[in-house]
């Protein structure tokens, strides 16, 4: 019953026969080219309403870019997709995230197994204080991978376009690499278990322009196999890599600072012909 042999979690099977029992039918409503359908009604941090009413379908084998001024909730929405925010005290999500025929916020779903199937790359490169090899093998060991470990590690490192740089020093500590290399190592770590969806929260913001270009090229390669959602504060980056772009803004009308999705469209369409006045102004650089 496991969907991918690489990503299994004993708890999923114990708590719920998710794919077959709980969510029959919900996939029928999902368009075929949508890998993951994020329907935010409200996201709270304690009493603070951080994001409201944002419907963000993430398309299969495409890159979806999240843009918008800082504080508008891009990271909040992205991290809600793999339930990373569950770690934050006071976090509350109202809405649904349809993924592979289930709602990942359903009570019967174990957030740990969600995170094993939806990988994440963070703003700051964060390799473990382990060898390069062990960093990549980490998820494989976690999922009790039985196949050829060396081969899978090499495949992931090649997939992250860093194999040639590290193949002779796999035993070195992951932290000994440069910032750009560390970030690619983190990407290798995330794709080693071949998750269906890869989330990236401003993965280039801590990197220099050359490393940024390398990661951008890598993302374009990755979408052949994976579905990618990326937060970026850099509109040019969205133009360069994203197939779909979601523009978020902050609504201060009701006294709070609540983020919401203003509009979402294929990138070219959004940039050339934005439907909303707010989008137009933002793309013009009237505010940021």
């Amino acid at each position: 019953m496991e969907a991918t042999p690489l990503s299994t979690s004993p708890t999923t099977q114990e708590t719920c026969n998710c794919e077959s029992v709980c969510f029959v039918g919900s996939e029928a409503t999902l368009p075929a080219d949508v890998a993951l359908d994020c329907q935010v009604e409200k996201i709270y941090y304690g009493d603070f309403l951080a994001v409201r009413d944002s419907y963000v379908p993430i398309h299969k084998n495409q890159i979806t870019g999240f843009i918008g001024p800082s504080g508008c909730g891009k990271s909040t929405v992205l991290k809600s997709i793999n339930r990373m925010n569950d770690l934050i005290r006071g976090f509350r999500f109202e809405g649904k995230v349809h993924f592979h025929g289930m709602d990942i916020y359903d009570k019967s779903v174990d957030p740990v197994s969600v995170r094993r199937n939806i990988g994440m790359v963070f703003q700051q490169p964060n390799p473990f204080a382990l060898s390069i090899y062990e960093n990549v093998a980490f998820g494989l060991r976690l999922n009790r991978f039985k196949g050829d470990m060396d081969e899978q590690v090499e495949k992931a490192l090649r997939g992250a376009a860093i194999w040639d740089e590290v193949k002779n020093k796999l035993k070195n500590n992951g932290l000994s690499l440069s910032g750009g290399q560390q970030q690619r190592l983190c990407i290798a770590r995330a794709i080693a278990t071949e998750p269906r969806v890869l989330l990236m929260d401003e993965p280039c913001s801590a990197l220099d322009p050359i490393a940024t270009r390398q990661i951008e090229e890598l993302m374009i390669q990755l979408k052949e196999k994976y579905t990618v959602a990326i937060v970026t504060h850099n509109m040019q980056q969205a133009v360069r890599v994203a197939d779909q772009t979601a523009f978020f803004a902050v609504d201060i009308s009701s006294g709070g600072r609540t983020g919401y999705l203003v509009e979402m469209a294929p990138t070219k369409e959004l940039f050339e012909n934005p439907q909303q006045k707010l989008t137009k102004e933002y793309l013009h650089g009237d505010f940021s």
Binding site: S9, N82, M84, L87, V112, S113, V114, R115, R116, N117, G119, M120, F122, Q124, N126, P127, F128, A129, L130, F138, G139, R141, L142, N143, L175, C186, R189, A190
Partner: protein
């Protein structure tokens, strides 16, 4: 009025060069700190030199045989400290095993979000208070509370599992096990405090990375947090071990002071520190030299362990960087 050396106009009166008084205080402060630093180093050197020179007659007389022989007989003039070296290392290793295990467990419990931050801090301080209890109080507690408490259990183990070398004697009173147990409580604060620092030094992004990979909380601790903090934890263990090696009073009260070598946990033994403490008061000139030799050996062992610990902590930056 001090003239402004830069020749700047000071009409606003907002900037002033340091006054002669400021400069004097600054210079004397520097001199004073330098003096105390050097005084400490000289004192240490003097102590080592003095002990070494007092030990010299015994060193030349007994040589290395002193380390390998097992009799200590003042009347016959035979001296050997192998049982004491054994007892020192055995009790300290036992204490390290117990105290290390619990110290690390406590460090994990107090740093990995099991408790609200305030409760963590309160418990951390309470555990550090263990270090403030005087050694002799631990000794008394051991004699009057711990040994009577342990004796039935120890003797049960001896009667039923006496075939196992560790249980091969009964506990008649003081012995290795109660001594090591008390010792482990005494090193616990050291191990717990330094390990906690190592865990707290792990950046949040490392924890995020672990959970982002889909670890459960235990997997995150076992596979990420402990390896990341391992350098600091190892340093904590070495420093705890160093503390155990030199501990005197509680051991002198609890270990039984008999110079025998035994694997049995319940047999009495002796350590270098308690040998010194108990024999100095009545030592004649010659025996004093012998004891100084033993002191040199103890000093050497603790020095090596402490240097190793400090080196490891420095090298690994006490946890993740």
């Amino acid at each position: 009025m001090v003239t402004n050396p830069l020749g700047l106009d000071d009409s606003s009166g907002l900037t002033q060069p340091p006054s002669a008084g400021d400069i004097f205080v600054n210079k004397s402060f520097k001199a004073l700190t330098a003096f105390f630093t050097w005084a400490t180093i000289l004192l240490l050197a003097y102590i080592v030199f003095k002990i070494g020179s007092e030990a010299l007659p015994a060193v030349s007389k007994y040589g290395l045989e002193f380390l390998t022989s097992t009799t200590w007989d003042v009347n016959e003039g035979k001296f050997g400290i192998l049982p004491e070296i054994w007892g020192t290392l055995y009790s300290s290793l036992l204490a390290l095993g117990l105290g290390g295990f619990f110290g690390i467990a406590i460090a994990i419990f107090l740093t990995q979000d099991f408790l609200p931050y305030r409760v963590e801090m309160v418990l951390k301080n309470i555990i550090e208070l263990l270090a403030a209890i005087p050694s002799v109080v631990y000794g008394l507690w051991g004699i009057f509370v711990l040994i009577p408490l342990l004796r039935p259990m120890c003797n049960f183990l001896n009667t039923n599992f006496g075939g196992i070398p560790f249980f091969s004697t009964s506990l008649s009173g003081p012995g290795m096990f109660p001594a090591a147990l008390v010792l482990s409580i005494m090193i616990l604060p050291t191990v717990a405090a330094i390990s906690q620092d190592a865990f707290r030094a792990i950046p949040l992004k490392t924890k995020e990375a672990a959970f982002g990979m889909g670890t459960t909380r235990w997997e995150a601790i076992l596979r990420v947090m402990i390896p990341t903090a391992s350098g600091g934890i190892f340093g904590a263990l070495v420093l705890g071990f160093g503390r155990a090696l030199g501990e005197t009073m509680a051991l002198a009260m609890l270990i039984g002071n008999s110079n025998k070598i035994s694997l049995s946990l319940f047999a009495p033994g002796n350590t270098l520190a308690s040998l010194l403490a108990l024999n100095f008061p009545e030592a004649g000139n010659h025996e004093t030299s012998v004891l100084m030799y033993a002191a040199c050996i103890l000093l050497l062992i603790t020095l090596l362990v402490n240097i190793a610990g400090a080196f490891i902590i420095a090298k690994t930056g006490s946890g993740g960087k």
